[in-house]
Amino acid sequence: MAIVKVDKLAKSVFQGPSLMTGSYPTKDWMEVPAVFKPGNFAYPAKKEKVEYMNSQQGLSFPNAREWWPEDDDWKLPENWKEIIINGLKDRLDKFRSLKIFMDCCVRCGACADKCHFFLGTGDPKNMPVLRAELLRSVYRNDFTLAGKLLGKMAGAREMTVGVLKEWFMYAYQCTECRRCSVFCPYGIDQAEITMMMREMLHLVGVGINWILEPASNSNRTGNHMGLQPHTFKDNVDFLVDDVENLTGVRVEPTFNRKGAEILFITPSADVFAEPGLYTAMGYLILFHAIGLDYTWSTYASEGGNFGLFTNNQTMKKLNAKMYAEAKRLGVKYIIGGECGHMWRVLHQYMDTMNGPADFLEVPKSPITSTVFDNAASTKMIHISEFTADLIKNNKLNIDKSRNDHVYATWHDSCNTSRGMGLLEEPRYILDNVVNNWVDMPENAIREKTFCCGSGTGLNTDEIMEIRMRGGLPRANAVKYVHERYGVNTLGCVCAIDRATLTSLMNYWVPEVTVAGLTELVGNSLVLEGEQRQELDEGLRTLV
């Protein structure tokens, strides 16, 4: 699909009549139906993918069918409404967060202009509070006294097909980035509400293919790209060749090796496509430089978790491979690569869902002997924690000047920032591997960082305009440091970012490229026995 020209979109963001630009809607939000047209919805999940997921132990993806968002008739099951209301009741009983978030909002509006989708589209229903009201209105109608007595007067409305369509539209214009939750006086987290809406939509067979296909791939082949074991290995082997061409050093990764000390798991996109490939080369170089006894796994070859974007059962099932594989291979602990939502799952969900990992040991760096007691229970540490410790202990031979072609800025990924608190480790690494880097303005970084606009499985081409609008706040802050300091590289610790920020930069700030942190580490490492040519673009240099 041809994406709207940047000048036109730029004008539209500023001048188009919207709540952001100064106009006020003529109709109450309950009177405005969701209208689907090409470009504003992600394609529905293919029937066979839904059926496959439904056939897996512990998962339920009922009501698989062919349907299309633009059609009036979504071919919902006859008792769809009952399914939704029961689904809501079930979730209220299971998640205290949902009950609290349904009852406590005072509509103060603190979250309203914090969402990147609202900032980019000006659509009132992208204000987190209103996105939550899409669900809250139904909750009031069926689960509260005031709603039952006063109906619409109390902000209640009946669940209708129109409401369901609204849920589908706006639950897929939220990337579960949690920025709203930082500003809410009660910590109401739209990510939770979006998760619940998506879970309930799956109950009636409504989901998108860009999530369910990767999820089914992850289940079957071990990674969301659907790379079969030999292909996965081939891809890494290509990178080994590339590293040799560039540095003269042959690194020797192993796969599914029993008895390795450490299992390394990263998003599969890192071994599949630029610019993640350079990050993967960085991992290979780094682990070689320190002589780490580690293995890749083809069975658990996906760090990212597309289950998080569907329902908690799928999240658990996909995540369970990590511990299962660690146990099978008999490793001591796991290091996880760079990824945002992956780390939300690993940090806040994994141990609860699939622990206790009592067959693993508390992570201890074999190089520095540092014990990572912050991961004493999960036994899984972030590559940036591991690398920062190596640098602090002077275990890496770094030549910062090898990154002098880089003037970097730092993108805090939503989930590592607001669902983990990983803020200083990457900055410490940057300080030590590049000579030139600068932070973006303070309201756009750290816990206030902006999403790439395409997280939670929304990085699909058919909604490119929405993605470019949603990513605008991030791009805008990058543009600021680009124009002011000549920044040419946007660093990040997220595989989705590496893919989506690249599209975003190409669109809004084409002079800036995207690089994973470990790519920058890899650029700067001096290897023993290297025969390195002049690499004026680091690992990206064509030789």
């Binding site: 005072v106 009201e133 991961a375 983990m420």
Partner: protein, 340 residues
Amino acid sequence: MKYTFPLAAVIALVLIAWIGSKIPGMQYLFGVVIPWLAVATFIIGFCYRVVHWAKSPVPFKIPTTCGQGYSLPWIKHDKLESPATTSQVVARMFLEIFLFRSLWRNTKAEVHEGPKLTYESSKWLWLFGILFHYSFLVIILRHIRLFVDPVPGFINVLEFGDGILQIGAPSIYLTDVTILLGLILLFGRRLINRQVKYISLANDYFPLFLIFGIVVTGILMRFFLRTDIDIVAIKRLAIGLATLQPTIPTNIGSIFYIHLFLVSVLLAYFPFSKLMHLGGVFLSPTRNLANDSRMRRHINPWNPDIKPHSYAGYEDEFREFMVDAGIPVEKELPPKADEE
């Protein structure tokens, strides 16, 4: 207009109490029965709601981290914004509940030509919120003097402090001014701020009008309509209510019954409304949990029994490719028949 109905409702409530309290014999209803019912509804409703929330488990530990988490010893841990222990969580909650920490962060976003987005610090909502809530708290505490005898020392101190300006006779309470200001500003926001105006519901205007009514009748009683107001009689009624031995003095004017009736409505309305944020703020899982989920395992009581797609199943499907690619396998390939 979403505020017309709530406004009409509050006016109707005022009229009900005004007219009702003038009917002989009805003073007992408005002075004793309704307040008692309201207090009972408040207490039972509030507890019910909190217990109702607490009945649902917290399956996952999902604090929103707003600062550096506990990590390597030489990395400065932000204990307040990303607490790792219970005492740090308590400190974070204290800031949230008593100082409205999150609202303090508020920014206002604007889009300019380019497009260029800007985010400026905007502490108005924080200020209005603090003005309103703290004024309300002091006013409630001041009222304790009506229900107990002798009046505790700290209430006298509070009252003295509140009236320290010594303007007028009786002297003006600071909090009477600030709560009015807070209410007007919070209401004004809902009319003027486009985003807030669009999201506001009748449920948002009603409590504002109701509390406005309570404050205005209170101020009228103290400063303007004093002729019918015998403070000794009111205290006798209040103590009677508190000790469950009610007496209805005859010399209390309607303005008092209006005030009391509006307070009763507020109490009874409270547990069924968004005002329950008073209880909810303590229980919000994104704020009241420690960011220690990799250090200490959090238990989900309904953790479903779900197994991963097994390694054995995976190897069965791809064994041939794996062997060809030199990837170790658990089970070797069966010897091929045609190799003989």
